[in-house]
Symmetry: C2
């Protein structure tokens, strides 16, 4: 099967929202009046973002999920995406599973594939995603990293650290019981982009970012963009590791015995969580709770923004912890 | 230098046209009223699209040029682009040269870098480009592959085959004199996207495509999309090889002795030309000439569209040639 047959067979579908989809030099998209287009691009590479034996269906899911997560962090409604794919060879079973995983998530979010590129080469998946953000009375409703204000509460959605726990287990760094590995692996391989929460937080959150490189590292971008500092209650974040709650009291039995320090590292610097980290004024606590409920997404308050730059970590007793939780750097 | 420093140092610049550029989860772009956004994505891979010893400055140019060429083929005005880059390691000299080549071409077309991604991995460059197409009285002004009509003239811009000639020489398949290789190599490594011609052809051309995989292969996409056939005067196309004109009468001296058949293969199936192949009604021959002049781009009539599907090749004597000029397939 050649390049053009491949595109047509696995990826070409009738367009609904775009004016023109796959199969011309360009796709054509006509945004509605009084909207901005939010655009994000993520590249996934073998060995960095996924392991060689990954199920292609979950890889298709994840490749789009990490991009939808960027839209969620902006409060943008998914519209469309392009897919550029470099493949060592044409493996039809692989492509069928990959496209199923990809397009199932796309359909769930009404996000249509409008174009792209395929080439032979080392496995590489590059998706660029387009979302819609309303502009109200000349004002963009996008959630930005730069809007955090002193006094704001700091929140995180969902759970933390389980993706990294699964990765460490798959890399042989620690052992997990099978059922726990299966649960954690779901978080690593099929993360849930928090699109509904992002939309519900428009007009509520003062800033937002999605957690891809680790909570503290990504928080650092918000603090830098906003010119503020923060206090994070490290042990509240650590309690958000789903696997930890599951294991409580059963450490010996499962043959897993992580120190407090190791648990904190998973939660604070694990990465690959694709949860939303956001800020909102204390006066809007009720609105945050309503957004969490409307989007059926758990949200936990884990800290506070303050005017003095810098990051302070507190343990459960209110004691300051040293911050040595390095975030993920692709070139470190 | 880590990932974030790298982005900031080489690629982050003040945004002019976008509402928000590099450095948040998404870039924000607000298209003008009554415009469509034309979107195209191309991925460049080592060994497929460029050789290992390529000058990073020309690679930066080419990575954007092939994307701008897709906008040109749609008659879209360049606005912005995203860059996703996978690099084996951080080589500052390489990045400095690559970003200079890339941003120089971007500046020349008023096309700004608004976002992207960087990761460690095998060298891979994925650019997604955004252009603007007016919508007049509800009608898109985009040039499409599907608009060719029986009776239309078939045109090509610029020169053909020189890029492939250079590639074959660089791969050791043939020898070229140094000055000729230098000229042909310019066409391979720094192709000129025909953006001005594409804009001038709005309302004139009935269909258009850019030549990336080879003239006949790309023509095949137009014929299939439009449901028509074509006659191509193969030897007129062959005369568009710049190197051929330069060599005429000096074959022995330069130690290059290609058959008519080899020259035709370069022109008809060479690929990497990034010229525009387009159709227009005979009544608009004057308008085509005016578009060529306004955009300072040579344009040559090389054939005609007819209603009967299929492709007929004629030599200089009007004799039919067998079509065995396979187009480039990334997986063949």
């Amino acid at each position: 099967m050649g390049e053009f047959d491949l595109i047509a067979h696995y990826f070409k579908r009738p367009v609904r929202r775009a004016a023109l989809g796959v199969g011309d030099d360009c796709a054509l998209l006509q945004p509605k009046a009084d909207t901005q287009l939010a655009i994000s691009s993520d590249m996934l590479v073998l060995g960095r973002h996924f392991l060689a034996d990954v199920d292609p269906r979950t890889l298709g899911h994840k490749a789009l999920a990490v991009n939808l997560s960027d839209l969620a962090a902006c409060g943008a409604k998914p519209l469309a995406f392009t897919l550029a794919l470099s493949l060592p060879h044409v493996d039809e079973a692989w492509l069928a599973a990959f496209s199923q995983g990809l397009l199932a998530l796309a359909d769930a979010h009404g996000c249509e594939l409008i174009g792209g590129d395929t080439t032979a080469g080392p496995l590489n998946i590059c998706i660029t995603v387009f979302g819609e953000v309303p502009v109200t009375r000349g004002q963009s409703q996008a959630l930005l990293r730069s809007g955090a204000q002193a006094g704001d509460d700091l929140y995180v959605s969902g759970t933390l650290g389980d993706a990294r726990l699964a990765l460490d287990a798959l890399l042989g760094k620690l052992k997990l019981p099978d059922d726990l590995l299966a649960r954690a692996r779901t978080r690593l391989e099929t993360p849930t982009p928090r699109v509904a929460l992002g939309l519900a937080l428009r007009g509520v959150a003062s800033s937002a970012i999605d957690i891809s490189d680790g909570l503290l590292g990504d928080l650092g971008h918000v603090l830098q963009s906003s010119g503020v500092g923060a206090t994070v209650m490290a042990d509240i974040a650590t309690e958000l590791i789903a696997a930890r709650a599951y294991l409580t009291g059963a450490t010996g039995q499962f043959g897993i015995n992580l120190s407090n320090e190791q648990w904190r590292t998973l939660a604070l610097a694990g990465g690959d969580d694709y949860e939303l980290l956001f800020t909102a004024p204390p006066a809007l606590q009720g609105a945050v709770a309503a957004a969490a409920q409307a989007s059926q997404t758990p949200v936990t308050r884990i800290g506070q923004i303050h005017a003095t730059p810098g990051l302070q970590l507190l343990d459960r007793h209110g004691q300051t912890l040293e911050n040595h939780y390095a975030s993920f750097d692709h070139f470190a």
